[in-house]
Symmetry: C2
Subunit: 266 residues, 2 copies
């Protein structure tokens, strides 16, 4: 928890600055890549890796300039240890399959942890100009094509009424496959595809449940403050701390989370 | 084939007018629905059905006023028989699962058939302000956040290099399940989720192959002119006319289409 609200406000403002920088770095590669790729020939140019690296380098440069004592954990470069409590957790392009196809359901994830606990979270979609964010202890906010506002999850206490989502069926391995299928069979509807976008739609009240597997810390830690501030619950499948990744379950309604945990426990 | 280019131009202009009307009818229900739904209580208000009906009614009214002799086949209301060669094929919201979750990967499909053959096709995404369209015999066009232009599929002749997509694994029934899985195993990557959006991204060169099942005529007929004008091939899984729906295979590269047909034939 932040002891100082001025500090929290400054760190949130800085997260917005990181998102702006990442978006500017990524956009030249989204969809434009096609002509570049054809000119360069096969396999000489991987646009999603180039965009990932450009965005993470941009964010790391901003952090080094403003908060040199902060740590950085990102997908593309080695971890930078923190001198103090704060570490930024960055995933420049979450949803690489969507990105390479040209679908707008990917996002830039920016999280801040304090002694390992997620305290600021942000998801930015620069193509659609959508942004979702929260500071621990506050409300969850969105900005979309219709305006800005506070996000709240929707009530849905029973699995039979729940809308479930996951990024892809092939993300589940070993016994997780059967556990996910058991959960899916008890819900009203399951949809695949969406990555970080799904957690923001859960925060906005568009769906009830997300069950995923094989997540990295930077895939989920930046989303934890958003889900919690909107009224949702997010843990690992055995009810533990989600910030390190692994198999993750998020629910808009705490009662639904409890029901889902029972099924996932087998 | 249009015998008269002035007529083709007028019908394309009119398709844009239909898309504008449908978008205005749908947008009040997208994401806004959440508060409405909570106020109205459970099951009293189905926003996607309301939006579907409002958009189709808007398009039918425009067609009756401008082209009273044209037929209309839509998802929400009974077919209106044509007095002459032309019938409009309308799917106001293709991608209802995405719509209800708040994801922007749904679209309004507007097609025109001439004696049963698709001659004009359009996909409109009013939230992101994206539009994709083509007239048979012409080029395929897009308008997105970066501008307007001509779309071309990308070359990819071999399954092992192909990016495959489908809307959902549960759309395949019976022996189609094994056939789709056999195709998926031979490709480089498979992604689920996207509906009509996938076909437009194929036309834009973002992916190589789409295999789907259980499609209705209005799910695919409006996309056929777009895929073909961009250089792609679209048929049923046994190589037949795709305009009536069923099991559909679309490829950006004609060689890849031939390879995929061999696998789907078993």
């Amino acid at each position: 928890m932040f002891s100082n609200t001025v500090e929290a406000s400054n760190l949130l403002k800085f997260a917005h600055k990181l998102a702006d920088g990442a978006g500017s770095a990524i956009q030249p590669y989204f969809r434009r890549r096609l002509s570049v790729s054809n000119k360069a020939g096969e396999n000489l140019f991987d646009p999603v890796t180039e965009a990932d690296k450009a965005a993470e380098a941009t964010m790391r440069a901003l952090i080094s300039a403003e908060y040199p004592q902060h740590g950085v954990n990102g997908e593309e470069f080695p971890d930078k240890p923190a001198d103090g409590p704060y570490t930024w957790v960055l995933d420049p392009i979450d949803g690489t399959r969507a990105f390479i196809m040209g679908l707008p359901v990917w996002g830039t994830l920016i999280g801040l942890t304090q002694n390992g606990a997620p305290v600021v979270g942000m998801m930015d979609q620069p193509y659609t100009r959508e942004r979702f964010w929260a500071v621990e202890g506050g409300e969850a906010y969105f900005r979309d094509a219709y305006g800005e506002g506070v996000m709240r999850t929707r009530p849905c206490a029973t699995l039979s009424e729940a809308v479930l989502a996951a990024t892809a069926p092939d993300m589940f391995k070993g016994e997780d496959i059967g556990r996910f299928n058991a959960l899916s069979e008890k819900t009203r509807m399951t949809r695949f595809g969406g990555d970080c976008y799904l957690y923001c739609m859960l925060a906005m009240g568009g769906l009830d449940l997300i069950a995923e597997s094989s997540l990295k810390s930077f895939d989920i830690a930046p989303l934890v403050p958003i889900i919690r501030a909107a009224g949702g619950v997010v843990t690992t499948w055995d009810g533990g701390d989600p910030a390190s990744g692994g198999s993750i379950i998020a629910a808009g309604d705490p009662h639904l989370h409890a029901e889902a945990l029972k099924v996932l426990a087998g």
